[in-house]
Amino acid sequence: MHPFDYTRVSDTREALNAGRRGGRYIAGGTTLVDLMRETVERPGALVDISDLPLREVTVTERGGLHIGALVRMAEAAAHPKVRTLYPVISEALELSASAQLRNMATIGGNIMQRTRCTYFRDVTADCNKREPGAGCAALHGYNRTHAILGTSDHCVATHPSDVAVAFAALEATVHVLGPDGERTVPFADFLLLPGHTPHREHALRNGELITAVEIPALPRPLRSGYLKVRDRQSYEFALTSAAVALHVRGGVIREAKVAVGGVGTVPWKLPAVERHLVGERPSDALWEAAASRAADGARPLAHNRFKLELLQRTVERQLRIVGGTK
């Protein structure tokens, strides 16, 4: 680990000042400390934001949810409003990491977590994300767990977060505070596709601080849930996953929100699947037909072709779990 200066800030103004001077925010530290030890991350100064007042979950005026950036994963998962309004969020969180890590890690840090690609984590391997221009060892290396959607010739690493898949499905907004004040970024624009610049991963400008993630109100009743498929039953990242939310009224699907994880360079929204569902009546045949679109546009690598079918089946199964059948 490289040496670093440390400051603990007590309000957002102090945080932004330290951030503008190049300090790196540390929340739970479960991504940052790990990557600093591997010397993948080498910040010269850490700015500890744990004392900032960003630790509340509130229901918005319209009936959505406002989740403070420093709310711990465990707290968000257990929060009664999260559980009742958006089970897909609490399920995604409960299926993430371990109880210890969920006690430490925050919502803001979670969406900012970096890929688990082993070549990215290994400073002796070629990685365009870590070192622009170095090449991508995963492209022709061992790439069983890598992405099949949103990839480029420069990077095929997945975004590993589970709850970010739920946020993508629900069309969340990220609240951000910078030197020029507040702004909001739609979740769809927050995490960036690798393209030619895989080292650019998110829409934050220098020194900007995430203050909250907001989930919009959706028509009720809303049924939602998260399914995660992985190599072991728990404490493992997703091979494939699906976040689904459905609003069914009068026996007809009026709203469908679907996104998938473990397969994309960013959490992957499935508008074609959503369009296929809206206006239809729930049935096994509908789930199957809609899910057949889940891997549209996928580009499998040498070792992850299995994800195409696994993804379709994951989506189909989760549509059936959330939507039931009649």
Binding site: M1, P3, T30, V33, D34, R37, E38, Q100, L101, M104
Partner: protein, 176 residues
């Protein structure tokens, strides 16, 4: 003292690191009921503080990356991975390790249950398992063996004692 782990790094970085003394901080925290004040290199993990500075070697270093749970301790009553916790952040914190669990000669009920259920072989994961089990019981995730297993999944046991570990947690939760 520098936190362990992968030492690979650029030669330039290491040269820079050697050129200037690494920043340190003074931290006052409570460990197993005793208040301690230390000056540490900012890089020192809580795990290394406990093991290397305080001689509390019960907490184990398995992966040093959050992936095994052998280093689990309680910070302000909550189970966390001490390998991913920087000491410099712990001003005023209360830390409980496996060494602080027993009440004098009286073992903590979960320690006793691990013995009664024969819930270990080599014992390497055991301090972490027990500290995690204390957290699991406190959090109330003991409704069924399945719930315990899921809530304890952050602790790997290479000897495969999972069934008996779950029984030990179940036994202790039941007695409360």
């Amino acid at each position: 003292m520098i936190a362990g782990g992968v030492t690979a790094g650029s030669a330039l970085g290491d040269a820079q690191a050697a050129a200037e003394p690494a920043p340190t901080s003074r931290v006052a925290l409570t460990v197993n009921g005793t208040r301690r004040t230390v000056t540490v290199d900012n890089r020192t993990s809580l795990l290394d503080l406990l093991r290397e500075h305080f001689g509390l070697t019960g907490s184990k270093k398995g992966c040093n990356a959050g992936a095994c749970g052998a280093c689990t301790v309680l910070v302000d009553g909550q189970r966390v991975n001490s390998c991913l916790t920087l000491t410099v952040r712990l001003e005023g914190a209360e830390v409980t390790t496996i060494e602080g669990l027993a009440d004098g000669d009286e073992l903590h009920p979960l320690q006793q249950a691990f013995i009664e259920q024969d819930a270990f072989q080599c014992g390497y994961c055991t301090p972490g398992q027990i500290m995690s089990g204390v957290g699991c019981i406190k959090e109330g995730h003991t409704g069924s063996p399945e719930e315990i297993r899921e809530s304890m999944s952050g602790n790997i046991c290479r000897c495969g004692c999972y069934v008996k570990i779950v029984r030990a947690v179940e036994q202790t939760a039941g007695r409360k």
